[in-house]
Symmetry: C2
Subunit: 514 residues, 2 copies
């Protein structure tokens, strides 16, 4: 078998099932190998950012890596933004990039480019295969690097010659390692803080936001009276039904500092010290104020769920004692469509086991606040700030969980970045309801201008944040890519379209005019 | 004035007039400065690849750099693909990227990323400003680097603090340097080859493809009997009317080698030795076959037009003697819409001084062959192989030349990459007729599979090159972004829609079903 087949065979043996692909000429042997070796489903995205965003959504829900298969240099570069989000989400992803055959590199052909320099900022591991006999070993190493707990983005560059030439066959795959346990001094420090009789908050991230971690954290809260927060943009947060609710740390640094100033200790569980998304003059980068001290219980790379359970035991917290707060779904909203009524409408109707993909930017907080009393669901946040994450990531989540409804809360400006994802929603018949939060502006930038003291932005500043001229017709865009769609101008419209979408399989798009 | 204003003032003093922008929070002082300092028009693209592609089209037509204004890290990364094309086209472009204030970098905030690593593969010059007092000097240096003949892509990273803090004001700008003259040994070698009595070809690139170079090359051809070719994908080629026609070197290496095997010498004027776009087993990287020898007359960085004129003088070639070959426009085609009738329809109707932006991929050669007898026009090729160049680049060309009609010949698969460009066509009311060559496939990959001996691609290989499920409705996509559009299913349809578009200002899109 050739190198490409040895690579794909190795990936199949490792349990890889999905490949999000937009290949070119330098990846043709790998394309052929995807047919020759059964076991990996190839999903076409019409832009590389769709492929990488889908791999991120898939990895967060499947808990294991997908492949991406991308063209060298500029092709890969188109996928960087969503790999940046995946890196911040600690999602396992294995990028495969072709390259010119090594003997052709010296010609500096038009597409010749430095894929290593492009891949390094978003990859924890980058390697260029040197020989067809090594490409399967390189894939096995890539798999091991990607699945290092909780997950990492890795990139393997496979020159065309190494794909096409004869190889010695697949390589053996090492099973994924369990995360290292938290050491006892960390547990002891956290216990001391929680027993000190002062107000304490816990900030949860990474796998602490899965069911096991949340239930242990709730026991700790019940025993100690601490409050529980999660990262502002969690990679994946399990929510709803009887799961313990967590608060999100506010986005703007002044608000986050204000929130944390009420506590003497901040216990960090599966996350790191919170930082400001941007640096604002006069405000610090690190958000824990004086008078509040961080206590590291567990890093994201450690077994945080076990640490939380051990801490609950130390505190002699009863098991299963705490029920979720008595919150209910909101009532069906009516009247004007606002971010509030939008959030209520989704929370009122979202089905059991929904997956909420949230790239709603400035439109999303009311939904989060309205939805703690909904049925069980997974919430995927926008981790890295690279916009264009939502629609692709929804595709990946839907492919990982075909029996669950995905609801993408998508800001309009960000949604345009990777609008091509809708075509993949249609091609694969994915159960995705995309709700475009159409405020027709880069609203966050208007807020930032105001925060910077620009009360009356000039003509060009206004134009650069304005999406009304021309208005984007999302219903037409969706129709152009095979996704049925409707526009909602009132809360009633939104409820009606949502009910229609939720009653039928396949994708649907609702343009919610805010 | 703050650093941002000092930078923009310096750019205005240098003659910069256009800024293709999709800024974020770290670029807000520059956004404000674009209003505070008059002289630079900001044009919003809804995706960074639109901005960089537009800057490429603008630079090729204006002959001077535009700014791009892009968000740090992943934002810039979205623009890399079209910067790759611009680098290969030797287009002058100055990228401005914001960054976190330097004091915020240590926090490793979510968007923190290595913009230098991302920018280096596509930039001849990269610098990160260290102080508000230096940002204007850095812009002046960036301008000098970008305008080094014939043009280069450069990237200046301006941390938010350096934009916002007080500065010492604008920096002085050095005028662009003339290109160095070609030395006499090179002239002498070329003359020797042309006088040797053997078959000679000249391969023209870069500024040799502007009027002055073409007329000098035609004199040389008339005096020596040599044949004239241009690069397969010229950055800009002036054509039509009485301009001397040139042949394009074929794309596939076997065909290019076959073409060149008829000659004893290949004189390189403003280009380098032709290379294979991809490396194919059994075919060489460099395309000049044994028996044909390269003679370098002028590199792209040298004054190739003067060198061609000097060579014509040495050969005592009469001035203005040669007329264009007696070619006429094709007749209006009828019947089935094919790549041939599409090419004929465009060539039959394109107006005086059109700008043809060609990213038609496998659909475009018939147009090129049919159009040598058209009125004067500029032809912009797809230089770097990074797809998604056409629609953005058309926007830049239209902004550089508002009195000329731009016709974008756009492959459908490639067009989807940067489909957001249509919104900018509409917002700016650009005189662009986009013709989508809708073969509903990644046709080139099917050809590559066949060339690789894969006669019957498997299910997944077929799916990864197929754009029929679902069909992309380009008329809906265009309508969704405010561009009037129509579908053509016959040659007559295409002629009718073309005439309609050419009779009215503003953008128009025609989906040509092939």
């Amino acid at each position: 078998m050739n190198g490409a087949e040895s690579l794909i065979r190795t990936a199949v043996n490792a349990g890889v099932e999905c490949c999000f692909a937009n290949p070119g000429t330098t990846e043709m042997p790998l394309v052929v190998a995807l047919d020759a070796v059964p076991g990996i489903r190839a999903i076409l995205g019409l832009f590389e950012g769709v492929c990488t965003g889908a791999a991120d959504g898939y990895g967060r829900m499947a808990g294991k890596p997908a492949l991406t298969l991308l063209h060298l240099g500029p092709g890969f570069a188109n996928g960087i933004a969503n790999l940046h989000n995946a890196r911040r989400a600690r999602t396992p992803i294995i990028n495969l990039i072709g390259d010119h055959a090594r003997w052709h590199l010296h010609a500096d052909a038009p597409l010749t480019s430095d894929s290593v320099s492009l891949a390094s900022p978003v990859s924890a591991w980058v390697r260029t295969t040197r020989d067809a006999n090594e490409i399967a070993i390189d894939l096995a190493d890539a798999f091991a690097a990607a699945t290092r707990y909780p997950g990492r983005v890795v990139t393997l560059i496979g020159p065309a010659g190494c794909q096409a030439e004869e190889s010695t066959g697949p390589a053996s795959v090492r099973p994924a390692q369990n995360p290292p346990a938290v050491d006892s001094p960390a547990l002891c420090n956290a216990e001391t803080a929680l027993r000190a009789g002062k107000p304490v908050a816990m900030l949860l991230g990474s796998s602490a936001l899965m069911e096991r971690g949340l239930r242990a954290a709730a026991r700790i809260a019940a025993a100690s009276g601490c409050r529980i927060f999660c990262d502002t943009f969690p990679a994946r947060l399990e929510r709803g039904e009887d799961l313990p609710a967590v608060e999100r740390l506010p986005y703007f640094p002044d608000q986050a500092i204000e929130t944390l100033s009420k506590f003497a200790w901040l216990v960090l569980a599966g996350t790191r010290e919170p930082v400001a998304f941007f640096g604002y003059p006069g405000l610090p980068s690190f958000l824990i104020p004086e008078g509040c001290r961080p206590v590291l219980l567990a890093r994201p790379e450690e077994d945080v769920a076990a640490a939380l359970e051990a801490l609950a035991e130390e505190l002699r917290a009863p098991k299963g004692a705490r029920k979720a707060a008595e919150t209910a779904r909101p009532l069906r909203p009516s009247g004007k469509l606002t971010t509030h009524s939008l959030g209520e409408a989704v929370a009122a109707l979202q089905p059991e086991n929904a997956i909420i993909v949230d790239e709603s930017a400035t439109s999303g907080l009311p939904y989060f606040l309205a939805s703690s009393g909904t049925p069980r669901h997974s919430y995927l946040g926008h981790t890295g700030g690279a916009i264009g994450q939502g629609l692709p990531s929804a595709a990946g989540a839907a492919l990982a969980c075909p029996d669950r409804r995905v609801i993408a809360l998508q800001a309009d400006g960000s949604g345009m970045y990777t609008v091509q994802a809708l075509w993949t929603h249609a091609r694969e018949g994915l159960n995705i309801t995309s709700i475009i939060c159409a405020n027709r502006a880069y609203r966050i930038l208007r807020i930032e201008l105001a925060r910077a003291g620009i009360k009356e932005p000039g003509t060009q500043a206004r134009a650069l944040t304005d999406l009304t001229h021309p208005v984007i017709d999302w219903v037409s865009l969706a129709a152009g890519m095979g996704v049925p769609a409707a526009r909602a101008e009132t809360a009633e419209d939104l409820l009606r379209h949502l009910e229609r979408s939720l009653s039928q399989p396949g994708p649907y798009l609702i343009e919610a005019l805010l």
